[in-house]
């Protein structure tokens, strides 16, 4: 078997790169670094507008911290199931990997369900997207995060389907690692949002 064939068969690109590292993984890390700028902009905008209510209800007036705490805990635990999925696939335990991937997607789904409930209850209490600058900034920030989580769920389900078809094996476990990096980043962003937006008092 030629050297090229070994690399292609192995599924880990790092053996063929000039840096000796996986370029796919490096690209994901660069992408995540750029995502910091995106979320930094959205968080800063909310911080600047959070008290601008135009004499109408502010998002901070209707926060349900106990409920959001449970959502945060669910997302945090999904990072554990994600890393356990990678660990299982890396060991060649494909069925366990599949189970953990599905668990991660389900926990992500629970988080998104919680966010939909939260948004709905906010609107019922008079805080909609266009109510005031504070609500616009809040819905944009948390909505963008929700879209990221949703995309992560799509990626996780794609991995799950690939695994069911027998296309996700120990040899290409790096794919799980790449999706895992994205998923953990989404969790990290929520760690930041939960503290800065929800827990730190507005005034």
């Amino acid at each position: 078997m030629s050297a090229e064939a070994v690399v292609a068969d192995h599924g880990h690109d790092e053996h063929a790169t000039t840096t000796g590292l996986s370029h796919t993984k490096l690209a994901m890390w660069v992408f995540l670094g750029s995502e910091c700028l995106l979320f930094g902009g959205l968080i800063s905008t909310y911080l600047l507008y959070k008290t601008r209510g135009n004499n109408r209800t502010l998002p901070t007036d209707v926060f349900d911290i106990p409920f959001t705490s449970v959502s945060s805990f669910v997302l945090l635990m999904s990072s554990l199931t994600m890393v356990l999925a990678l660990s299982a696939v890396s060991r060649g335990e494909e069925e366990a990997g599949r189970t953990w991937l599905l668990a991660t997607a389900l926990l992500g789904g629970v988080f998104i369900g919680g966010q939909v409930y939260e948004f709905t209850s906010f609107v019922r209490e008079g805080v909609a997207f266009t109510t005031n600058p504070a609500s616009s900034a809040f819905f944009t920030l948390t909505g963008f995060h929700g879209v990221h989580v949703s995309l992560g769920i799509v990626m996780l389900m794609s991995l799950f389907v690939a695994s069911v078809k027998g296309k996700l094996t120990q040899r290409n476990s790096e794919t799980v690692e790449i999706v895992g990096l994205y998923w953990h980043f989404v969790d990290i962003v929520w760690i930041f949002i939960f503290t800065v937006i929800y827990l730190i008092p507005a005034d």
Partner: protein
């Protein structure tokens, strides 16, 4: 947290082993569970600060919350995202974006007199 170097990605051919060994050892599942427990405890502490009737944190509230947030951020990045075990270049790429973002937006918030 010493239970590391249990899992390797695959079983490479003999001539690939040297390349493959570098930066590919990962913690055991038990180590991940322990990190998750620590994260859960910190989250519980964070939520605890919300109930001022139980304990008034006073001026220590915001610094405490930020400290706990940074610890959680660090644990997820280093353990779950494997920055602790992978090549330093990955961490540098991420840190570059993070530092740039923090710098740019601290300046932005300062310009708009957020801290006043």
């Amino acid at each position: 947290m010493s239970d590391t170097t249990v899992t390797e990605h695959s079983e490479p051919a003999a001539d690939e082993t040297a390349e493959h060994d570098e930066g590919h050892s990962h913690p055991s599942d038990w180590a991940y569970v322990k990190i998750a427990v620590v994260l859960a405890v910190i989250t519980a502490l964070e939520v605890f600060t919300y109930f001022e009737t139980v304990l008034d944190w006073g001026v220590a509230l915001v610094p405490s919350l930020i400290f706990m947030m940074v610890v959680k951020f660090y644990l997820v990045a280093t353990w779950f995202m494997h920055l602790r075990f992978d090549s330093k270049l990955f961490g540098r790429m991420f840190t570059a974006g993070l530092v740039l973002a923090v710098g740019v937006y601290v300046v932005t918030l300062t310009v708009f007199e957020f801290w006043a």
